[in-house]
């Protein structure tokens, strides 16, 4: 028989305001096995914990029930306090009488009754609790960063800086991500390449960082501290170790009609290519969809011109397995497809472009070598119209768009408008906006400069439609402040398209068992207190994969994420959750039902000798659970017909005792 102490928390008036805590303490004090029952103002406070510890000492308690807030809040607090008095922490149970009682019920009688019942259920459970010992598992001192944009690069650099190995897996041939495609950055107007490429080079040269570019994560097994990841290294048909990045092949390749994704398809590249001059790793890649040699077997020019002998048409995808202690998702974003927006004519009018396309049109390394020219006729635009919030801030009635604010568009549009006005003062620039959002250091000043210093016309109102009108674009829009409908003949229309998580994020989240919200952004463990961790242990979040962010915010989150990763890797051992499944070998049939539902592969079987009746020996196949791998979901316990498999801390009998107490 346990000696149980019951502690009822008032939580100020949070609980005591609705629950008659004295009555609860009195009622629970009569329960079998309860030797001490009291209530207190704030059980979680230092003095509350002292009260509990004193009671444990004086009444020689073997089990503790705290009726307080959610166990998700203070279970750890009370377990720790109890363990300081020598009680196993798993002998503590919480009855949630705040979130589940006082906060939702108004009637005191009703709330008090329910609190007593929940307390009884916790007492019934504690009667069956067993002391549990947390196991330990070793930590692989290496991190994986999925995604090689600025978020991934920054996280990797910071982890490497702390002395841990880190791998970057990037699906495109080079790291750099979206930032590499940008021209200038707000609010300082530095050149994006100038600040990004040194970091790329750092990452490429850092001994601790290994870059798997043109690679994808294929499978993730294991758990925090001990992940085993399969990485598919896609065939480049170029030996990375031999290629010097001289680029001769990319000039000689006869297949020149491949849309250049780096320039948003606004010009072409060769079938063998290096995405851009500062690519890391600077290695050529053959685009198998276009290479004549790979498609027809006729050509082979790149191989002939390559002095290093790096071309290898027979290269195959290779799957490698690597072990990690922690994994960072830095899967980034893409602009949504503007084609769905018929009214803006993106699909039909060549001179309607997206902001990212404009970045390339203004970049010195872009398709126009940095001169702003219209895609249709390569002429200077004289009237440019920017449309804000294309696809952002939509309700579900607009299935083309996203419900959230994409956060970065206001600022980059101000930047674009400013840059155009600066370079081409003869150009009229209109920005149609709903709201201008500039909450950032020096952001509003930047926007005001666009208006006041550069004379950009900011018009409150949306564009209704854009139609081709001869060589020009007819923009029909409203000026809400003037109460007018405007008809502007523009030469170029720029759409600030919403951003969305990369399409691969969903499958990666599934592999990582990390949860996502309905927009496919990764969910953080706590929106305020744990913003860079996923709820899944050992999985961390960096950059836009968690939610829209600009570059400064991305970089700070990336570093924060690195700090959390370092926190894991710095430990030699991690304590495991002791509430794991356990197989009773005397009952187990070895039927393998449990193994089929285990998501972690934590169950294995072996033939064991047992003493049979009449001094015989029986050999039976029985299951055993690896407690370091088991995460304690309990799927196996239901699959097991004989009840051999049970979950420590949530055993069949414990749960049934709770059921009994509740239904009493």
């Amino acid at each position: 028989m346990q000696r149980i102490g019951v502690f009822i928390c008032h939580c100020g008036t949070n609980i005591a305001g609705t629950v008659d805590v004295k009555a609860v303490a009195e009622a629970l004090g009569h329960e079998a096995g309860v030797v001490f029952s009291t209530e207190y103002q704030y059980m979680c406070s230092e003095s509350g914990q002292q009260l509990m510890r004193k009671a444990i000492r004086e009444h020689k308690l073997t089990g503790v029930v705290v009726c307080s807030c959610s166990p998700r809040m203070h279970e750890a607090t009370f377990r720790k306090a109890a363990s300081l008095e020598g009680i196993n922490p798993y002998m503590v149970e919480i009855a949630n009488i705040r979130e589940h009682v006082s906060w939702i019920h108004k009637d005191m009688k009703e709330a008090t009754e329910k609190a007593i019942i929940l307390g009884r259920a916790a007492i019934a459970k504690v009667h069956l609790n067993q002391p549990l010992q947390a196991g330990e598992s070793p930590v692989t001192k290496r991190a994986l960063v999925i995604g090689g944009g600025i978020a991934g690069i920054q996280t990797a650099l910071d982890i490497a800086e702390a002395g841990f190995e880190v791998d970057i897996v990037e699906k495109s041939p080079t790291i750099g991500g979206k930032m590499a495609q940008l021209d200038k950055t707000f609010p300082t107007l530095d050149c994006a390449a100038c600040i990004l490429t040194p970091k790329m080079v750092d990452a490429g040269q850092n001994e601790k960082i290994k870059i798997f570019a043109y690679s994808e994560v294929e499978a993730v097994k294991g758990y925090v501290g001990n992940f085993n990841v399969s990485i598919r290294r896609k065939a480049r048909y170029v030996d990375e170790t031999k290629c010097t990045g001289c680029g001769l092949c990319t000039e000689k390749c006869p297949q020149k009609k491949v849309p250049n994704e780096f320039n948003m398809g606004m010009n072409n590249r060769h079938a063998i290519y290096i995405p851009f001059a500062q690519a890391v790793p600077k290695v050529a890649t053959i685009d198998a969809d276009y290479c004549m040699m790979l498609k027809t077997g006729k050509c082979g020019i790149c191989s002939k011109v390559c002095g290093a002998g790096a071309i290898d048409y027979k290269q195959q995808d290779e799957v490698i397995e690597r072990q990690y202690g922690a994994i960072v998702a830095a899967t980034g974003f893409n602009p949504i497809d503007a084609k769905a927006y018929n009214e803006y004519g993106y699909a039909t009018c060549p001179d309607v472009v997206t902001s990212l396309e404009l970045e390339r049109l203004m970049n010195a390394a872009g398709p126009t070598n940095g001169t702003l020219l219209r895609p249709s006729d390569n002429e200077h635009p004289h009237t440019v119209v920017f449309v804000q919030c294309v696809g952002s801030r939509c309700t579900e009635t607009d299935e083309r768009g996203k419900p959230y604010c994409s956060k970065i568009c206001c600022m980059y549009t101000a930047k674009h408008a400013m840059l155009i006005r600066e370079k081409y003062p003869d150009t009229d620039v209109y920005v149609f906006y709903i709201d201008v959002r500039t909450p950032g250091k020096n952001f509003d000043e930047f926007y005001r400069r666009a208006v006041e210093q550069y004379g950009v016309h900011y018009i409150k109102g949306m564009v209704g439609k854009v139609t081709q009108n001869g060589k020009q674009l007819r923009v029909q829009a409203s000026d809400l402040l003037a109460g007018e409908q405007l008809h502007i003949d523009a030469d170029l229309v720029v759409l600030a398209t919403a951003i969305e998580p990369d399409k691969t994020a969903r499958s990666i989240a599934t592999m990582l068992t990390a949860s996502m919200d309905t927009n496919d952004f990764f969910t953080e463990a706590h929106p305020k207190l744990r913003p860079v961790e996923s709820p899944t242990a050992g999985i961390f979040l960096s950059g836009v994969c968690q939610g829209p962010k600009d570059i400064p915010e991305t970089v700070s989150q990336a570093s924060a994420c690195a700090a959390k990763v370092i926190g894991v890797l710095a430990k030699d051992k991690l304590t495991c959750n002791p509430c794991v499944a356990q197989s009773d070998e005397m009952l187990c049939n070895g039927c393998s039902s449990c193994e089929k539902v285990c998501p972690y592969g934590a169950i294995s079987y072996s033939d064991k000798e047992f003493r049979g009746p009449n001094r015989t020996t029986l050999i039976r196949r029985v299951a055993s659970v690896n407690p370091a791998v088991c995460q304690g979901c309990g799927a196996c316990t239901v699959a097991c017909p004989s009840g051999a498999m049970d979950l420590k801390g949530f055993s069949n009998k414990q749960i049934m005792a709770e059921v009994d107490a509740i239904c009493q």
């Binding site: 919030c389 801030r393 309700t395 949306m462 209704g464 409203s478 109460g483 409908q485």
Partner: protein, 129 residues
């Protein structure tokens, strides 16, 4: 707002529109082909209904200038459906007048697969003013 509470409620109810969803982007007005004809524009309809200024709208010829083309409904990123607000105000006026010239028997013959039914009904009400 209180002075025409009943009328506002009637408009809100018969339109089924939640005017509070409007974020004042003006895309409805930007897209409105009847902009020049209208005294109050689609976004104003939404805003004024929210403020409870039904009388002004009811008195305005704008309610008959709306083409019920539903461009504003189609384009609204928030699913506010301004045309339904216009229609609701119009309906409120017509109900008050107690007139409804087209007989219901005439309607089936006018039905067309591709035609939004609401367009037909609004058109009928408008021209039988």
């Amino acid at each position: 707002m209180s002075h025409s509470n009943n009328a506002t409620e009637q408009v809100l109810r018969s339109s089924g529109v939640d005017v509070r969803k409007c974020m004042r982007c003006g895309k409805c007005t930007a897209t409105c082909p009847a902009f020049d004809e209208m005294e109050y524009h689609p976004h104003q309809f939404v805003y004024m209904v929210e403020k409870g200024e039904i009388e002004k709208l009811a008195a305005s010829p704008s309610i008959y200038k709306c083409l019920s083309c539903f461009a504003c409904v189609d384009r609204c990123p928030r699913g506010v459906e301004p045309a339904k607000v216009v229609e609701a105000v119009r309906l409120a006026v017509i109900r008050q007048q107690g007139q409804n010239h087209m007989k219901s028997d005439d309607i089936p013959a006018l039905l067309d697969e591709d035609m939004p039914q609401q367009l037909l009904v609004s058109a009928m009400r408008k021209y039988s003013k």
